[in-house]
């Protein structure tokens, strides 16, 4: 499996999330919660997961969707399946 540098992963995932939520990437800190802080809904979370799977060619089980609450969660989830 390819090794992806943490900083690159953070930058790429921030861009993916910003594009889907349609906000400035700078607002997406590692700890900002998607729903409460960034105004995301549950289907946007699914879009983020789908975009992650497509970009990194990974398969994340449905039950992990509930764990996707922050950029930090997204990074950890991606690393778990890379």
């Amino acid at each position: 499996m390819p090794q992806v540098d943490d900083l690159i992963l953070e930058k790429e995932l921030r861009e993916i999330i910003a594009k889907i939520i349609e906000i400035d990437p700078d607002r997406i800190t590692l700890e900002a919660t998607f729903v409460n802080d960034l105004g995301m809904d549950s289907m946007m979370a699914l879009e983020i997961l789908a975009a992650m799977e497509k970009k990194y060619k990974i398969q994340v089980p449905e039950e992990k969707l509930g764990r996707l609450r922050t950029l930090k969660d997204a990074i950890n989830l991606a690393k778990e399946y890379l």
Partner: protein, 139 residues
């Protein structure tokens, strides 16, 4: 899959049923379906009176209906009463006119029990006339 089978899977009815036949379905993967675009459809009286063009919004609806059929065939244990679109980004490349056979191809990117993300294209003959992506949720 004929029109009666389509009607058994999605709630839309005339004049808002935008598929006539499903040509191919691969549960969990993709679907290919078509609609024959007829000049007899009522919306052509106004869209547009002197130059009938199939509304792009209805091409998008055909894509969504195909996605819904794919979802139901892929997740048979999920009871979908009302599917609703939460996101759609479609680029329309060429007009569709009466007499055309509009073929839609929908591919699953990710499906879960609460909805799905899909990539989609619409063709008339060999030409791609629209393409994009959509997300829908189930209630």
């Amino acid at each position: 899959m004929n029109i009666e089978e389509i009607k058994s899977l999605i709630p839309q009815r005339h004049p808002f049923l935008m598929l006539d036949r499903v040509l191919e379905i691969k549960p969990g993967e993709s679907i290919r379906a078509y609609k024959n675009v007829s000049i007899n459809e009522d919306y052509f009286r106004g869209h547009f009176p002197d130059a009938p063009i199939f509304p792009g919004a209805l091409t998008a609806e055909a894509m969504a209906q195909a996605a819904c059929i794919l979802f139901k065939k892929s997740m048979p244990d999920v009871n979908v009463t009302t599917p609703y679109i939460t996101n759609m980004k479609i680029r329309f490349l060429k007009p569709v006119v009466p007499g055309d056979q509009l073929e839609v191809i929908v591919k699953s990117v990710k499906m879960v029990r609460t909805g799905g993300v899909f990539e989609t294209e619409a063709h008339v003959r060999e030409s791609v006339i629209a393409k994009g992506e959509m997300t829908f949720a189930c209630k």
